[in-house]
């Protein structure tokens, strides 16, 4: 795996070629379940996002847009938005990703997770017209450079999580998806939705260790 630093040092060309190859592999694979490729994809999204964050790179933004905007649109339509509203909100979400790029921290969340949280907040705002109270931000101290090992670990965990979700029976997977589309009320959300609890629990443990490490 290339570290972000190594990727960032390269010229823009190879990064984008790699991203395109990844996208093509994903499309070509039956069922889209190519875990090795997904791992590389996650690494690439981070590098692209860091180019947006650190260099306001519009070409990197365009690559992220082509991957995520159609997924955000689908996500919002599943949440009950019309195609028009979903399209508008997908553009808002991507504009927010640019605007708030400084807040992206690859040691805490993958790009997909970060995009999800922005899309979720936009949905609460646009469809429910409510505020979203957010937890107090942690003081990470003066060291803002993410630890490469932690960035790698986050990518690995997301890979495992994605793989665990992919192996669930369709019915359970559909329930989890409905919960995240905002289609289930809080009382309807039960862990009998079939979340892979072993994977969830071990990821929580790792996230906790990382938090303690970052705060110490």
């Amino acid at each position: 795996m290339l570290t972000n630093t190594a990727l960032a040092e390269k010229t823009q060309g190879p990064i984008y070629r790699l991203a395109r190859t990844v996208a093509a592999n994903r499309l070509a694979s039956p069922g889209g379940k190519v875990f090795v490729t997904v791992e590389h994809a996650e690494t690439d999204w981070v590098s692209l996002m860091l180019r947006v964050r650190d260099a306001q790179d519009k070409a990197a933004f365009a690559v992220l847009f082509r991957h995520f905007a159609p997924r955000i649109k689908a996500f919002l339509m599943k949440s009950g938005a019309s195609a028009t509203l979903a399209e508008e909100c997908a553009q808002d979400v991507m504009a927010t990703l640019w605007q708030k790029a400084e807040q992206f921290d690859p040691a805490r969340a993958s790009v997909a997770t970060w995009v999800f949280t922005i899309a979720r907040n936009r949905r609460i705002d646009a469809i429910r017209r409510a505020r979203r109270p957010e937890p107090e931000a942690l003081d990470w101290g003066p060291d803002t450079e993410p630890d490469q090992a932690e960035v790698y670990e986050v990518a690995q965990e997301n890979l495992r999580l994605g793989a665990a979700l992919a192996t669930l029976p369709d019915k359970q997977r559909a329930l989890i998806e409905r919960a995240y589309y905002g289609d289930l009320s809080h009382s309807e959300i039960a862990l009998e939705t079939g979340l892979p609890l072993g994977t969830i629990k071990s990821r929580i443990r790792l996230a906790l260790e990382r938090l303690r490490h970052q705060m110490s």
Binding site: Q56, K58, F65, A69, P70, R71, I72, K73, A74, F75, K78, E87, A90, Q91, M94, A95, W98, Q99, E102, Q103, A109, S110, A112, T113, V115, F116, N121, I124, R129, A130, R131, R132, P133, E134, P135, E136, A137, D139, E157, L161, G162, L165, A166, I176, A179, Y180, G182, S185, H186, S187, I189, A190, L191, L195, I200, R203, A207, L208, L211, R212
Partner: protein, 212 residues
């Protein structure tokens, strides 16, 4: 602060999914502000959301969509300075109060107990409660879900003791009479999606006036 009573995975997942009413979200956000374990759980349930979005379907966006978005990109915001809120109330509560504990607009609800309802959408309500040390709350049951987070002091009921950072999750099966411990007055953040069921007449009569 040793937190013994945490939020459930169901509530963490519902908050991560954006499925909680605003009033409950405020209690969750405040507990997460105080609790590393639940912060880690939140990051994990948000990662599930990331996986759902990333592996889900894609619907093509309009041809001019990228160009339209690129055209409106402005200067990125500089990251907000991340500091712990000064004062007694955690930052999410301060956002709703408009300041720290000295900005709370308390109203007396009798027996020395004071409350301040915080403005939220979505039906469910959330309030700050100030219960004098040693004082009991009226005996009550619940029609829906009630989350009570201790910010200062402690209270006990038939189930356990709840200290700073602890959350009590009460559902229809729990009838309880919370009593504030001796020592510091007890200050709680409490959210409910239905009116409480008081067992004695006086609180029942007062209920329409105090929206509890």
């Amino acid at each position: 602060m040793t937190i013994r009573h945490h939020l459930t995975d169901q509530l963490m997942m519902a908050y991560a999914a954006g499925a909680l009413p605003e009033a409950f979200s405020l209690v969750v956000a405040t507990h997460v502000s105080l609790c590393s374990e639940c912060r880690a759980a939140l990051a994990t349930f948000e990662a599930v959301g990331g996986a759902v979005l990333d592996t889900g379907e894609a619907v093509p966006v309009g041809e001019d969509s990228l160009a339209a978005t690129l055209a409106r990109l402005g200067e990125p915001e500089s990251a907000p300075v991340r500091r712990r809120a000064r004062g007694m109330l955690p930052a999410p509560v301060q956002d709703y109060v408009g300041g720290d504990i000295d900005h709370v607009k308390w109203r007396s609800v009798g027996m020395g107990v004071r409350q301040a309802i915080l403005p939220t959408a979505d039906g469910a309500t959330v309030r700050l409660l100030h219960i004098p040390a040693g004082q009991s709350m009226p005996d009550h049951g619940h029609r829906g879900l009630e989350l009570t987070l201790v910010l200062q002091g402690a209270f006990r009921d038939s189930t356990d003791r709840f200290g700073p950072g602890d959350v009590e999750i009460a559902t229809e099966s729990l009838d309880h009479t919370p009593v504030a411990e001796a020592g510091a007055d007890c200050i709680c953040l409490a959210a409910t999606d239905a009116r409480l069921r008081f067992h004695s007449l006086i609180p029942r009569l007062a209920q329409p006036f105090f929206r509890i």
